[in-house]
Symmetry: C2
Subunit: 343 residues, 2 copies
């Protein structure tokens, strides 16, 4: 084995010395920028890999002012939801020769401040996020620093400049409701995660309500359960429990996300309501777990990995003006948690 020093610390100067050329030429060869005679080019390449030369990205970044690093920032890394998303980003990043840095979501404002400071200091080229993990002023700050920002489900009103990808919940929720209606359900509740607060027209909740209206089944106020306290099954469970007690005439429940739906499933079990006979349950996301519950969860699948890749590519797009922002289209996956309504 070659010695440490030689193998790893080779600089362009070393390569140049070995090939009998200047650093300039080395740089030109290695980046295929500028005209170099093929003879010297050959010598440079040989010297480079004889020395095991690896470009020093730090130096390059300093010089050219771009780091080729994008950061992914998500609410809760422990949430199984995000793994696929990150995977998608990673995948696309690899083919774009970027590396991805990950940041746990900022819980409080102080955390957010620190995150932003870090992003700024590290001079990342871009930031990708799912959901609104950073306050608008922080996002503005990134934007002002020339850092590109792309986001999925950033509501309401992502600051101008954010490359926003939307999920077509309009069609998605229409599918969900159509499915339920076709099974004879008419009294369909919604387990809402208050997080998508003012429920903008692209939001899950808004689209659900809209779809209900389209079917002539206006959503009743009391059919809504509000889960507050984070995306955790337990939260969904208690909210569903309350809802089931309060309005027993419901025959179906659509949940804002699968985590909450998992809780609803438990709540049903707990109160002796059979799924899907007594109550049908639908989630959104299609997390890994969804296939393994009893019964398996019917859910509106979000192609998270693809969404991650799309977000990265959208981030890289040089001009977004003329292009239509990418849409992520969800797909209803019917499993065992939905069935015919009781007569």
């Amino acid at each position: 084995m070659r010695t440490t020093k030689e193998y790893t610390k080779a600089t362009m100067e070393d390569v140049g010395r070995r090939a009998g050329v200047s650093v300039t030429t080395v740089s030109r060869v290695l980046n295929s920028s500028g005209r170099v005679s093929s003879a010297t080019a050959e010598r440079v390449w040989q010297a480079a890999d004889a020395l095991g030369y690896q470009i020093n990205h730090i130096a390059k970044s300093l010089r050219v002012g771009a780091t080729h690093v994008v950061a992914v920032i998500v609410g809760d890394l422990g949430n199984p939801f995000y793994a696929d998303f990150i995977k998608g980003v990673e995948l696309a990043a690899q083919s774009a020769q970027l590396s991805v840095s990950i940041c746990a979501g900022a819980q409080d404002d102080e955390g957010a401040r620190r995150q932003v400071q870090m992003l700024l200091s590290k001079r990342v080229d871009g930031v990708i996020m799912w959901g609104w993990c950073l306050g608008p002023d922080y996002i503005e700050r990134l934007l002002a620093a020339g850092i590109r920002v792309a986001g999925i489900e950033v509501q309401p009103n992502p600051p101008t400049g954010v490359r926003s990808l939307t999920i077509d919940f309009r069609s998605g929720m229409r599918d969900v409701v159509a499915h339920l209606v076709s099974l004879g359900h008419r009294r369909i509740g919604y387990l809402w995660d208050r997080h998508d607060q003012p429920a903008t027209p692209e939001s899950r909740f808004f689209c659900f309500r809209e779809a209900m209206r389209e079917h002539g089944l206006p959503l009743q106020e009391e059919w809504i359960a509000v889960a507050t306290g984070g995306q955790r099954p337990e939260i969904g469970q208690s909210a569903a429990l309350d809802l089931f007690g309060r309005v027993p005439e419901l025959t179906a429940l659509v949940c804002h996300n699968d985590l909450l739906a998992l809780g609803a499933l438990q709540a049903a079990k707990q109160t002796g309501m059979t799924v899907p006979d007594r109550i049908a349950i639908v989630g959104v996301d299609d997390i890994f777990t969804a296939r393994f519950t009893e019964p398996p969860l019917t859910t509106l699948a979000l192609p998270r990995s693809e969404a991650g890749s799309m977000a990265l590519r959208w981030l890289l797009e040089s001009q977004t003006e003329n292009l239509p922002p990418p849409q992520i289209v969800p797909r209803l996956i019917v499993r065992g948690s939905t069935g015919p309504a009781i007569a």
Copy 2:
């Protein structure tokens, strides 16, 4: 990608100019290195945040030769197993002022080569991995470049220099077997993921076999099912299916990991074997899904998030000679998939 030139951020020189001092002084103040009169220090601070100064880590890294970036590299980012692990690393990284870069595992050798090249180029300070995602020579290469490497379940024989954390499967598997035996099971099979190949003394499989022996229940060759083809429930399912058909006298099955156990659960369902009455099933890992299967999965929980934090701290440890390598201790979580053996 566009450079940030046009947005040029404040540099130390700008701060210095505004405060009427030199860059050196600014550096000294901002890093609290060196003696500076509190009066000037005060002026510098004021100038700094008047200008919204953010240190440029790129420049700093180039100068000091350390990037304060650690990379996490795992087999498959989509595997729900890893999310918590990464979260743990992130958590500890935050308090150590490091940022974490993530790398999807290298599937093939070419991928691995590229990953390593990237790590080298980006001059990360350290690499943390779960499982052996990189061939030994690649690891050597990182080590040779002065990059610290920490790994969990890196078997067999992590190259010297790797800061290896082990999981105490010895006690863990002992708990598993003791649990099963206390329920009256004696014919206990094992669903093996061949990946932990030569089954070193720290490995899941080895420890299981050892625990069986301790209980006077030597594992029969034919009680072993081998799942090849990756960590996917489907793989576990077909392997379990085969095993159940081949050796019906088994009353319990321990699975190398939860993903495989999920498959085993399906296989049991498929063949009409009730769990846990006809066959008890135990997994390892305690992935999120485990709580939601029917019946819920009894499993040997690995504290993945803590493991991630531990790994990072162990990576940072300056001298490892005198210190005992950290041990991760698993904990048996009894749920519904295990019960008394049929008489």
